[in-house]
Each structure stands twice: as structure tokens, then as C-alpha cells.
Symmetry: C2
Subunit: 129 residues, 2 copies
């Protein structure tokens, strides 16, 4: 595999770009993660989303603990070549570590962020085994 | 207007967070811009998307030159409070400075980024008046 397509990406100084995971079919935005070259490369090779965890400073295969992997249907790049858009099938129907369908479960209502989406599964049941 | 809701956002060290513009109705992801406190505040006040231009280092009301403003229908915040999701009505049906509907007009096909979306309007006709 050549790396030309990886070189096309306009990686930031820290080597990362944001990657949006959008659900195939519904078009719902599930989450935003960050990718470096290796994360994107592994995502393409495996067909499942791999991100770079900025907090843990390591590669993170989405769903490695929870089982909520993301099967990647397509990968898009924006005009500035610095944002990636993944079309994914979200296994388990839960993308968020809070046990919700999507990470965007808060909506601005006047001057308040209001939680609009329920917890589908208690995180303790997702992560503690 | 209090600023509690602005303080809830987990602004990065450079004062910015990514903001995704998603088209109301279709759910298509149109673009990703960056916002600082002032950009988000002005977006809420005006009801139209205002971003921070990292290249020009100034606030940028989307559509100020092109007329392709984004009317904001809702604003969401993710679990880590560091990504914003705007639901917008895209005036003119063109979000991208290349004259395309969406900025995500390139798709990975094998080892190549392939342009999948046509130019709707020549950028010279959008920006040169």
C-alpha cells in the first residue's frame, strides 16, 4: 500500500485531524474523534474505526472495551484536507461512553445545555466486566 | 445574557473547538469550522453561523462574501463538551468555497481520494463581484 493518500491529508502540527463518525442510513452524527496517520491507516486496513485518544495518548480501536465498534462504510475528506468524515454502522447502537446513542445529547435551549437523549445502557454494564 | 453556557464549553488551549454544520432535513454534513467564545456567542445572538478563521485569524460570518449564510436551527454539544454540532439551513445550497454543496466532496476509493461531487457554481462567480 502506498502512502500517497495518507500524505494528502493536511495533518495538524500535533499530527492529528478531527474525524466525524456519521451513522449510515440515519445520517446522525454520533461522535467526533481524532486521528493520526496510523489511526487512519488502521481504520482503512481493518474496516473499523480506530482513533487516537488525546487523553490516553494512544491508539484506540473504538469499541475495544465496550464492543461498540464502528464498521466503516466510506471515508471522506474535506476541501482543506484537514477533517475526515466516516460513514459508519454503529454496532450496539451506542456510540457514547455515557451509554447514549450519540455523543451530541445536549442541546442549547435559551442559555442552558439541556440533555435531550436518554442513557440506553448504564456505562457500568458496558465497561465493567 | 449570562455566560454560564459559554463556560460549559471545554475550549482548547487556543480557545477554539470544532463546529460541525449539518444540513437540516437531509442530515448531510456540510463543513467543519472552528469557533471561539465570541463566534459561538455571535452565532446564538444572530441565529447565523459565525466561525473563527484560523488562517485569517479573525471572526468570519459564514456567507459574508458569498451570501451563503447558514441559518442555525439548533446547537448541540458533545459529551466531552469540546465539539459543537450546528443544525443549519444552508442558503444558496452551497457550503464550500469551491462552489460545491458540501466540503466533503472527496471519497477514499482504494488508495485514492476521488472527487464525487460537482461544482455547482464557479467560485469566481461567487466571490468576484
Amino acid at each position: 500500500m502506498t502512502e500517497d493518500w495518507l500524505n494528502k491529508v493536511n495533518w495538524a502540527r500535533d499530527g492529528l485531524v478531527p474525524a466525524i463518525a456519521q451513522e449510515a442510513g440515519t445520517g446522525k452524527v454520533l461522535m467526533v474523534g481524532w486521528m493520526n496517520r496510523e489511526a487512519l491507516s488502521k481504520t482503512v486496513q481493518s474496516g473499523e474505526a480506530v482513533y487516537w485518544s488525546r487523553s490516553r495518548k494512544k491508539l484506540w480501536r473504538k469499541g475495544e472495551e465496550s464492543g461498540h465498534v464502528q464498521r466503516v462504510k466510506s471515508i471522506r475528506l474535506d476541501c482543506d484536507e484537514d477533517v475526515i468524515l466516516l460513514e459508519v454502522e454503529q454496532v450496539g447502537g451506542i456510540a457514547c461512553h455515557t451509554g447514549r446513542y450519540s455523543c451530541f445529547f445536549r442541546k442549547l435551549d435559551g442559555e442552558q445545555w439541556v440533555v435531550t437523549d436518554p442513557v440506553v445502557k448504564d456505562p457500568r454494564d458496558i465497561y465493567e466486566k
